[in-house]
């Protein structure tokens, strides 16, 4: 076991543990904060895997923006401080679906790689990532940007208020 392995395992445990807390805690806002921990741990895993840029982008986008937006929305509701007693979530189906997917993926990956080792690639610098994205992955990239653009246009179309028209 190298240091990287230990770090990897520890961060993975943190990520999974915090993720479990997100769905089990009865504190609404704390669930969002656990999500911060979980996503931060994932960023740490990226770091261990030498994907620096992806790690910081994960931090910037997910912790800095997405979770904050989520927390913002939760706080706008009547989220109580302390445990919320009136949470009614169907627990069992969610456990089945989530656990099943997780187990299935884990089994698939473990079965696929067994004990084969892979050399860590070169550090995932911005330059390499750029070459990859605009080289072999340019089509998915462009498709994604079209998707985001349509989402933006849709958001404007939904929210815009045209004078004279009711709504």
């Amino acid at each position: 076991m190298t240091t990287a392995d230990v770090l990897m395992l520890a961060l993975g445990a943190v990520a999974v543990g915090a993720g479990a807390l997100v769905v089990t805690t009865r504190h609404l806002v704390r669930a969002g904060l656990y999500l911060v921990v979980s996503l931060g741990a994932v960023a740490g895993i990226f770091l261990v895997l030498t994907a620096e840029l992806v790690a910081w982008v994960q931090l910037l986008i997910y912790v800095g923006a997405v979770v904050v937006l989520l927390l913002f929305a939760v706080m706008l509701t009547r989220a109580p401080i302390g445990a919320a007693d009136d949470l009614d979530r169907p627990g069992w189906p969610a456990t089945l679906v989530g656990g099943g997917t997780g187990l299935g993926l884990a089994v698939l990956l473990v079965d696929a790689y067994r004990w084969s080792t892979v050399e860590l690639p070169e550090p995932g610098t911005a330059e390499r990532l750029g070459t990859e994205i605009f080289g072999s992955w340019v089509l998915p990239f462009e498709v994604l940007s079209v998707l985001l653009l349509s989402a933006l246009v849709g958001a404007i179309a939904v929210s815009v208020r045209i004078p004279g028209r009711r709504r």
Binding site: R30, E52, W56, L59, V63, M75, G82
Partner: protein, 321 residues
């Protein structure tokens, strides 16, 4: 020099900067603000023109009672000041002071690192706001979240412009690529970055989240003693970080009129303090923006300007290359 010794020296250097620079900026704020208002400011602590005022303040904060409201979410409430402070400490780690690796930790994508880490500070605002169990805190937190989310966009876009111009995401790399004429064609990006940075650290005139005349003290209302001091320290480290980033990205960092190789650290410090002075100056001169003016400025002025600057930068880069 063995690796561990070098590491220790670097960490000690960053921690020293983390502790000293905010105090210097804070003291400068006391004195500059006082003189801009025709006052003298602190005159007694330490003997000579009150130089030890902030140290005395620190001692005072330590002595105060550490109050946690009964209704508060204790764990989150107590953790928030630390979450507010640590990102800036990490950001200081990668900001270069001079050439030849005079930096806490040279990082290939330092720019992204700094932006990501500074963005985490929002979480602290939300944590403290919600955990305080106080309506003023919550209002302040909501304002803060809306403000920080909005202004992160022009901040990142303006930084991206200069990164595109330099062709690298490394902060020392950007300084090395910087030329004096960049002052001209990166000026809009610099303005956008500086204004958005002011909003990111919630300094007046962008201090709606703490707006003491409306919201008591916003998300910091319930904090006392050392935890409150942490928030204050975070604010001043924030000034240092934003000033240093503006210096490094747009003002040429260690590049000075002469002797860059051995006087670089001095040029950087001078520029950082000049930008800090401007930040203090703006605080004294301008009234606080209203909440809707704030969002309007962000989305209707800063973002379009930043996008235009991106197009300009890309065009010039292509023309040169």
């Amino acid at each position: 020099m063995p690796v561990w010794l070098e590491l220790v020296v670097r960490v000690v250097g960053v921690v020293a900067a983390f502790l000293v620079l905010p105090l210097v900026v804070g003291q400068a704020e006391h004195k500059v603000m006082a003189h801009m208002q025709g006052r003298l400011g602190p005159m007694y602590a330490g003997g000579f023109h009150g130089w030890a005022q902030l140290i005395a303040d620190g001692v005072k904060f330590v002595q105060k009672e550490d109050v946690t409201p009964r209704e508060a979410d204790r764990a989150v409430f107590r953790l928030a000041p630390v979450v507010a402070l640590v990102p800036y400490l990490l950001a200081l780690l990668v900001i270069p002071l001079g050439p030849n690796d005079l930096v806490g930790q040279p990082l290939d994508i330092g720019l992204f690192f700094v932006l990501a880490v500074v963005g985490v500070g929002v979480v602290a605002v939300l944590m403290s706001a919600w955990a305080s169990a106080n309506k003023y805190s919550l209002l302040g937190g909501l304002r803060g979240a809306a403000q920080l989310l909005g202004y992160e966009l022009p901040l990142v876009l303006a930084a991206a412009s200069v990164a595109m111009a330099a062709g690298t995401l490394s902060l020392p790399g950007i300084v090395e690529a910087w030329r004096p004429w960049w002052l001209l064609w990166q000026a809009p990006a610099m303005l956008v970055f500086f204004v958005a940075g002011l909003a990111e650290i919630r300094r007046p005139p962008f201090d709606m989240p703490v707006a003491d005349s409306e919201l008591v003290f916003g998300y910091m209302t319930e904090y006392t003693g050392l935890r409150f001091a942490f928030f204050l320290l975070a604010e001043y480290v924030g000034i240092v970080v934003i000033a240093a980033l503006t210096t490094v990205l747009f003002l040429g960092g260690w590049q000075g009129p002469f002797g860059d190789a051995y006087l670089g650290w001095l040029w950087t410090l001078i520029k950082v303090f000049l930008v800090s002075f401007v930040i203090i100056w703006l605080r004294v001169s301008y009234p606080r923006l209203r909440e809707d003016q704030l969002q309007r400025l962000c989305w209707l002025v800063l973002v379009p300007v930043a996008l235009g600057q991106l197009v300009l930068t890309a065009g010039v880069r292509l023309a040169i290359a």
